[in-house]
Symmetry: C2
Amino acid sequence: MPDRIDLDSDLLNYIIKNGFQPGDRLPTISELQDPNNLGISVSKVREQLEVARALGLVEVRSKTGTRLKEYSFTPAVRLSLFFALATDLRFFEQFSALRTHLEVAFWNEACARLTMDDLAELRQHVGAARAKLSGQWIRIPSEEHRAFHLGIFKRLDNPFVLGLLEAYWDAYEAVELNRYADYAYHQQVWDYHERILDAICAGDFDAAKTAFIEHTRLLRHQPRMQDMESPVEFSSEVAE
Amino acid sequence: MPDRIDLDSDLLNYIIKNGFQPGDRLPTISELQDPNNLGISVSKVREQLEVARALGLVEVRSKTGTRLKEYSFTPAVRLSLFFALATDLRFFEQFSALRTHLEVAFWNEACARLTMDDLAELRQHVGAARAKLSGQWIRIPSEEHRAFHLGIFKRLDNPFVLGLLEAYWDAYEAVELNRYADYAYHQQVWDYHERILDAICAGDFDAAKTAFIEHTRLLRHQPRMQDMESPVEFSSEVAE
DNA sequence: AAAATAGGATTAATCAGATGAATAGGGGCA
DNA sequence: TGCCCCTATTCATCTGATTAATCCTATTTT
């Protein structure tokens, strides 16, 4: 058992020490200033609240006060990842490799936990995606694409893996904001997804995993895509 | 290419937009207040600096000003993870599962990149650890234990995997702060490490990986251990 | 002349207080 | 009862002041 995990933040330590639970309201800022609580000034309290907010640990709203949120790994990962991506897009490839290996590693455990309802939901995503397909170019990744993959892992009892995967899809959306692909491409993608889903339904998780791995290769080559609307460079002065 | 990755932070967006590089000095706080830069007050600048500092993105020191650091995923992961662990130690098991799968997934790629010098360094860790062994109980994990495992992955060109592994060892140390094991246990651990290292040196990465997996099972069972010094509970009032 | 030291200037660190904006809750009116 | 407005609370942001840490420089000392 740990002696004490020092969080390098009076506020976070205070939250732990007082045993606040997700959903609980924290004292107001003025109360937190009180020597019995944190005993620091408004500005300092707000600095630490801002850190906790950035990490997605608390939600701070006017009047209502501050509420402790359910723990999620996602915000911290996303924030750090997005900063990295903003400095250099090549980071995406590395995070992408992490994502693929993660899905493969936790594949069977995640699949085994899926319920019939979950499978039906996945089937719906396939249907919805197919219904959207037409002759025109469609944005990648689609909402259904994200929902399908995250849906496979949603029962995995591991907030860290889930957080990394969620952050991955957030990043994907941010990075590929203006990427579009044509009908044939999306058709192929959803053929793979259907194959994956069928295998899972049949209980053959390994076959599903194999299909997933093939499918990531397809995505890596990214054929038949183009950028719609002129993309704006980062360093551009007009970006604002 | 992304239209624009919004970091939800004036300061971080400012850093990106102005193309600051690691090592660069950012403007002083008073300069950042200037409408030409951020145009926000001290308190707001400091809030955002504090977030950037918590994420390990900048180092802010008196007089010297603020310096942009080399990107690392570790601080963000560690901070979020430590908060989770402080609320519930069971999170450690889940992060531990993530770590094991990660090492396995990136094992061969990491091993393939090791140089002769790296291998010699790993050998030194084994030697140093063995030299420390005696009849007495020794703290786990030892410094060499951490260095050995991180050493295997140090050439892996993936800051995200590395960040997760580093944060794992930080957490391990925090969580197992007062855990000690006897001679026989450490002997066994370093036998495994030596087996792993020998296999890597022989170029048989798969055999090394297999040894690694066995070795994690050993650690999971954690025989012949005990807590030295009375551990202090989290919620304890005297913890401060 | 070189090194050590002391003093001044710059900047971060922290605080106190004021003002504005958002919101919940209560009271009044139809 | 149901709707609307008013008020009190709380967050949001800014300004200004004081303290502490650090660097730079000029002066002193050897």
